[in-house]
Symmetry: C2
Subunit: 221 residues, 2 copies
DNA sequence: CTCAAAATGTTGTAAAAACAACAATTTTTC
DNA sequence: GAAAAATTGTTGTTTTTACAACATTTTGAG
């Protein structure tokens, strides 16, 4: 079955047996969709009847405020869900827009099938639930991290706070970030050109080095 | 039993039957603690062996960054949990500090007892799980809201974005916020005095009105 | 009630970011 | 591989915020 093959590829389900994945594929109403780079997978305000699992590629969650300003909330990778917070919090529409930043494959699960366990309380539901809870929790922590960056006084501190976190996450002073400069500015909610000059200054001072999406946080040791 | 009486008071458990609350009280290792205004209930970095439920009062989740700047992440009310994100995301310590903003009663649940269902998979575990998942999801949405405020260009837009959300949440143009001016500045990560003058200007312009913690968002209609 | 402490408002100055406009470079597309 | 589009860097001006210092008001403790 096609859903099965798709779920099998998701790194987050690495530990799950084929039998369980098979069960999940048949138990849930699910469909597969493909999107090109730049396409909107979900638009904020869309009715919430599906929950999305990114099975391949990356996408950005964006938000447009009351005056049309768009800013990137966070970046989602293969294995991440989208829309579960809304589903569990009993919202009736998506709060953010999901945009493919490269070719993306998603699995769409029926919302009601997902949040309420089926009559026989099958194991696959438990497995999926556990994964989703962990996703939501991790995302809440990631959002708290982002808040810490945004709470910094200036652009310099914002970007350093962000890079610090990314470095820690990667476990190395050398690491790739999922954003280009324009996107990073959007993520940090600062002016792109101002960010550009701050980054240039930091590089000149020998605090950091970067090339494309690869950064090097030069520490004390 | 004392835990039972405490849980009975929590608004979030209004729909739960006495029998279930009784079961929860006996099933989980739980203890009750009291804190005065200003006391730290949990300090960031503390080992994560308990999960906290605020059963009475309010508290602020705060965070201290690498250079000692403290900022308020969000405000928790009776019925809110603290530390579940970390528990589910398999962290080993608390990410934020929890400070009582008034006399507070909390119920401390044993972490391991909470995140892994007990052998007999009792109903009370399911009830508590459901509540916690909803809490985490709602909080993730609240954090996204906060990110929207912090992403605004200037103080004026930040504070208006915040008040808009609070008004919507309250379902009225007149509403109370959980912060005084100093705390609001901390929450919005701006200079207190600058916020003060912006608020004064908004009041003068007739956009808003406020007194203490009560605000009035004067709309078009 | 009184005093001390905390919160709030006000102002001027210095610093920083937003904004705008453009050049240079890189990436994408046909 | 050439042209078009997008990204990135650069600079000067304007606007906004941070910062600091202080006056006033409110809150809280004894």
């Amino acid at each position: 079955m096609e859903i099965f093959r798709e779920l099998k590829k998701v790194p987050a389900f690495a530990g799950v047996s084929d039998k369980e994945l098979q069960a999940m594929s048949s138990c849930f109403k699910a469909e597969i969709c493909f999107f090109d780079k730049g396409q909107e997978i979900i638009r904020q305000g869309d009715p919430l009847d599906k929950v999305i699992l990114i099975s391949k590629g990356e996408a950005n969650a964006q938000n447009e405020d009351m005056f049309g300003n768009i800013s990137i909330i966070l970046n989602l990778k293969a294995g991440d869900f989208f829309g579960i917070e809304e589903a569990y919090a009993e919202q009736d529409c998506f709060k953010d827009t999901l945009v493919a930043t490269e070719p993306v494959t998603v699995v769409l699960f029926d919302k009601t099938k997902i949040i309420s366990p089926c009559a026989n309380n099958c194991l696959c539901h438990q497995i999926l639930s556990k994964r989703m809870i962990k996703t939501v929790s991790s995302r809440a922590l990631a959002l708290t991290d982002k808040i810490k960056h945004l709470s910094q006084r200036g652009i310099r501190d914002k970007v350093l706070s962000y890079l610090q976190t990314q470095s820690l996450l990667a476990g190395s002073r050398y690491f790739d970030i999922p954003f280009n400069k324009t996107e990073l500015a959007s993520y940090l909610a600062v002016e792109r050109s101002a960010l550009s000059s701050v980054l240039g200054k930091l590089k000149q001072e020998g605090v950091i080095d970067f090339e494309k999406k690869r950064y090097h946080l030069k520490g004390k040791n």
